[in-house]
């Protein structure tokens, strides 16, 4: 597969703090790459550095196979960026805002008009063309923010936390839009600290913490890193210690905990664990209210790798 971005040994310091520490990764054509990490893990800095907005101390960045620089206009022409903060003109309406930013890329007026309308369609703002940013709700404003970044139909799109503080409806709209962009052939780099979004959306995931890549791969690959395959939760009133000890001796069991009437069992491998447990409970005539099994989440992966929660 063709590499769209190649980052090698990238290091970026703010004064003495290393925001990015010897980072290397590639982005392949046509994929949605998720950059996942808690707040302050260096996601935005990585993007801004790739975009040549920020200075960096060492390393190399290639985009579309060429060295990326401030005046690499032919590269920039094919890039679209949606930044974390909403950056639109208060004084311009929805259409004009998109037209302004699109105009920085597309000179031809007829073509631009079509592109702008396409973008408005894509984010579902057709009914709000003549609205000013102040009149839009938070979710709609985010959509406008995205439209401004992608109206020129770039081949490579950076989306920096586009769904922060967005209502579910707008979020779904945004995520659908991103999928559509990928389907139309764009490569997408997507940062977020919402792991559900990454799982739902991304072909490949890079987990960042303190400027380091701590893991990368597909969602499933990453989950193997969590060393657990299955997590079963059972709501039981009054479980005695003897039973607890017996459960700990089950096959594949990694850990057992019992707090607040919740029995949580984690398994290293995930074959027939659930039915075995059910049989056991039936046999011992233990009453339970609820029982459910979960696959491990990326949060568990993160927890395993760093000892802390993804969301703080």
């Amino acid at each position: 597969m063709k590499k769209v971005i190649e980052v090698k040994n990238l290091t970026k310091k703010y004064k003495k703090i290393k925001a990015i520490d010897n980072l290397s990764f590639d982005v392949y054509e046509g994929e949605i790459l998720g950059l996942l990490g808690p707040n302050g893990s260096g996601k935005s800095t990585t993007i801004n550095t790739i975009l040549s907005l920020l200075k960096f101390q060492s390393g190399s960045i290639k985009v579309f196979g060429k060295e990326m620089n401030t005046d690499s206009y032919d590269i920039k022409r094919n890039i679209g960026v949606v930044f974390q903060e909403v950056a639109v003109f208060e004084e311009l309406d929805v259409y004009d805002n998109i037209d302004y930013f699109c105009g920085l890329y597309i000179k031809d007026k007829e073509k631009r008009k079509k592109y702008v309308l396409d973008a408005i369609d894509l984010v579902g703002l057709s009914d709000f063309k003549k609205f000013y940013p102040k009149q839009l709700s938070g979710g709609l404003l985010r959509r406008l923010n995205i439209a401004c970044g992608i109206a020129h139909k770039p081949k490579l799109i950076f989306l920096d936390e586009p769904t922060v503080a967005v209502d579910p409806q707008s979020r779904n709209n945004i995520l659908d839009g991103i999928k559509k962009l990928r389907d139309n052939g764009a490569t997408i780099v997507y940062t977020t600290h919402y792991m559900e979004e990454v799982e739902l959306l991304c072909d490949r995931i890079i987990i960042l913490d303190k400027g380091n890549i701590i893991a990368s791969g597909t969602s499933d690959e990453l989950k193997t890193l969590a060393k657990i395959e299955e997590k079963v939760t059972v709501e039981i009133n009054n479980l005695d210690d003897r039973t607890l000890e017996e459960i700990k001796e089950f096959k594949n069991v990694d850990e057992v905990s019992y707090t607040n009437n919740n029995l949580i069992i984690t398994y290293k491998k995930g074959e027939n664990n659930f039915s075995y447990l059910m049989d056991y409970l039936k046999k011992e005539k233990i009453n339970y209210n609820k029982i459910y099994s979960e696959r491990p989440t990326l949060n568990d992966v993160f927890l395993e790798l760093t000892g802390k929660e993804l969301r703080d």
């Binding site: 703010y14 801004n48 975009l51 040549s52 907005l53 920020l54 200075k55 401030t70 005046d71 206009y73 032919d74 590269i75 920039k76 022409r77 890039i79 960026v81 930044f83 903060e85 909403v86 950056a87 639109v88 003109f89 004084e91 311009l92 004009d96 302004y100 930013f101 105009g103 920085l104 890329y105 000179k107 401004c148 970044g149």
Partner: protein, 392 residues
């Protein structure tokens, strides 16, 4: 690209209420204040009619020169009326003086005396007039003596005193001084106030370029970041935004000129091309000042605007906006302040056009403004040259 940026800069600038206030409305509001406050000042610098009292003593009533002169000077029909006179007794005069109803009073006992409360212009004029009446009396005496002496020398014993006296009086009354006023017509004090107003409008134009340019600087605004990742040369955009803000600024200036010339009757002198030149360069200086503020201060728009307005108001204060004497005091005592003060360069430029026949001083100001603008551009350029940032 240039056109695209230009069009949208114009659009955003014109839609921003606070910008329109500062560049369009504020100078006009302030100009109206000036007009109201100063419309009277030139006239009231001329002599007022002074309230005085005259104590009616016997000596006074017998002294025709005093009686007639005071009558003439307090006559309502007289164009040169100087006094409103109350004829009273001495106690009443004292009382009037203490109450501040009169500037002073005149009393003729053995010597002419005046009583005043304090030193002041009106008191001085009062004194001077009384002295002049006294002089006239002396002149009549001296001249009579001379004439009589002359007649006596001629051997003429039959002197017609009445005729002689009348001759003297008519001589005194028919005297015409030969003083010619060659003053410059353009002496109006308040014009400088209006020039500071233009200076303020020019420099406040900086707010326009601050906003316009912030929007293309990635380290200043989110919009700037967007522009920063687009395939467009930053300097091209800055140039385009600057030009657009310059146009908006000039439009505001034209409105201000029209308002001051036709409504407030401000006189800018008669050299129209040079007035336009100065306005163009002055507002250009303002725009470049804005570029500097936009590029070197890493603050939000509001704080930048605040810094600028403070700078402008201080500059205008030193060039005479809140009292013209301030300009002169600074010019005389700490000239360096006003040599570096762009508000004063503009004010002084207009003033020199209005007041002087020669243009040396005007060109000095124009060149100062150009140097100022050049400096602003160079410093901004240096700080802009690094296209990547340590942090954004």
């Amino acid at each position: 690209m240039f056109k695209h940026q230009f069009k949208y800069t114009l659009k955003t600038l014109f839609k921003s209420k606070s910008l329109i206030f500062w560049t369009y409305a504020f100078p006009i509001i302030l100009g109206t204040f000036f007009y109201l406050a100063f419309s009277n000042i030139e006239n009231s610098e001329k002599l007022d009619v002074i309230d005085i009292a005259v104590v009616e003593t016997n000596e006074y009533n017998e002294d025709l020169v005093y009686v007639e002169t005071f009558n003439r000077l307090s006559d309502d029909d007289n164009e040169d009326k100087m006094f409103n006179i109350k004829y009273v007794n001495e106690d009443k005069a004292k009382e009037l003086l203490n109450k501040g109803k009169i500037t002073g009073y005149f009393i003729l006992k053995d010597k002419p005396s005046i009583y005043v409360k304090e030193n002041g212009i009106n008191e001085t004029i009062f004194k001077s007039v009384v002295e002049e009446i006294n002089n006239t009396k002396n002149m009549i005496n001296t001249l009579s003596e001379e004439k009589i002496k002359g007649e006596l020398i001629k051997g003429n014993q039959n002197i017609d005193y009445e005729k002689l006296y009348n001759e003297i009086i008519s001589k005194i009354n028919n005297y015409k001084s030969n003083i010619q006023n060659v003053s410059n017509d353009n002496l109006s004090y308040t014009m400088i106030e209006f020039y500071t107003l233009i200076a303020m409008a020019c420099l406040n134009g900086a707010i326009l370029s601050i906003i316009a340019i912030n929007n293309v600087l990635p380290n200043m605004t989110g919009i700037g970041k967007r522009v920063g990742v687009s395939p467009v040369n930053k300097f091209k955009l800055i140039l385009s935004s600057t030009l657009a803000s310059y146009i908006v600024e000039l439009l505001g200036l034209i409105i201000l000129f029209i308002y001051t010339i036709f409504v407030l009757k401000v006189d800018y002198g008669s050299n129209l091309p040079l007035i336009i030149l100065l306005a163009l360069i002055g507002s250009f200086a303002g725009i470049t000042l804005g570029i500097l503020v936009a590029t070197i201060f890493k603050l939000n728009d509001n704080a930048k605007t605040g810094i600028l307005i403070s700078f402008t108001m201080l500059g205008c204060f030193f060039s005479g906006m809140m009292g013209i004497t301030m300009k002169y005091i600074i010019d005389k005592n700490i000239p360096i302040i006003n040599k570096l003060n762009p508000a004063n360069m503009i004010t002084d430029g207009f003033y020199s056009l209005y007041y002087y026949d020669t243009l040396d001083r005007f060109y000095f100001n124009v060149i100062s403004l150009l140097i100022f603008s050049g400096l602003m551009i160079i410093i901004s350029f240096i700080s802009l040259r690094g296209q990547k940032y340590d942090s954004i």
